[in-house]
Amino acid sequence: MAKVSFQEDLCKGCGLCVYACPKKILVLDKERLNSKGYHPASCVDLNQCVGCAFCATQCPDSVITVER
């Protein structure tokens, strides 16, 4: 069991976490904007998350916290 949580207002929508995730379960939500005006990243299928932290490691802005 694993979980990723995003501090959305720090996200700049760069997409590096989406690129890094080996399970391909992260997306930039094109339907909404955060307070900075970016499309924030989020996980669309937490069940698939293995807590590898590839996403958090690739994130330049320390947006993601990973638990396992």
Binding site: G13, L16, A53, T57, Q58, P60, D61, S62, V66, E67
Partner: protein
Amino acid sequence: MAIVFQKTKGLTDKPFHYCPGCMHGIIHRLIAEVMEEMDILDKTIGVASVGCTYNNYDYFSCDMVQAAHGRAPAVATGIKRCKPEELVFTYQGDGDLASIGTAEIVHAAARGEKICTFFVNNAVYGMTSGQMAPTTLLGQVTTTSPLGRDAETRGYPINVSEMLSTLTGAVYIERVALFDYKHIQEAKKAIAKAFRVQQAGLGFAMVEFLSTCPTNWGKEPIEALEWCKEKMVPQYPLGVFKGKDLEV
């Protein structure tokens, strides 16, 4: 569930001002994580340089000194000679270190100053909007090489890690990248090794990071990462140039 990854105490609460996808954020975080994990936040003094990271004294949770463009290795020399028990690092871009600061980095390394330099090479000047850097690749388009860098009028890129490794005083030099988890972990190990080299008083240590500048390369962050992997590595091969077998 236990926390496997969270923001390090080595960074302050201030959100980074860097562009989306800029890898300064990753490098800052790695240095901060290493300082926290080695329990050296209390005894480290960092030197901020001039470029996009001019104000990273607001991001690291340790004492910080902001230096004039290119002069960070000289400032670090002054600090370390006065406070030899503290750990001192500089954080510099390719303009700061390889252009205006060439004399200072060469001589700090030649003197074997016991400092760590974290050199971020993204082949362009970021802060001042995209001019050619000493590390710009041949053919690369920048605001001061609009037709692509040509050797005839604009010379050749400088391989800083290779160049400095000819100096006896430079005891550990490694070039790393941040393409994926594996590379990032290697980069983090290099940072930790650089600090251990300083703790052992062996001499000058430098980690060169191949990095991206999405904004001035005119590329999306992922595209920029791919360009870095594909185009920069042939000019700037990854690996240890000095001190591979150092026992620290």
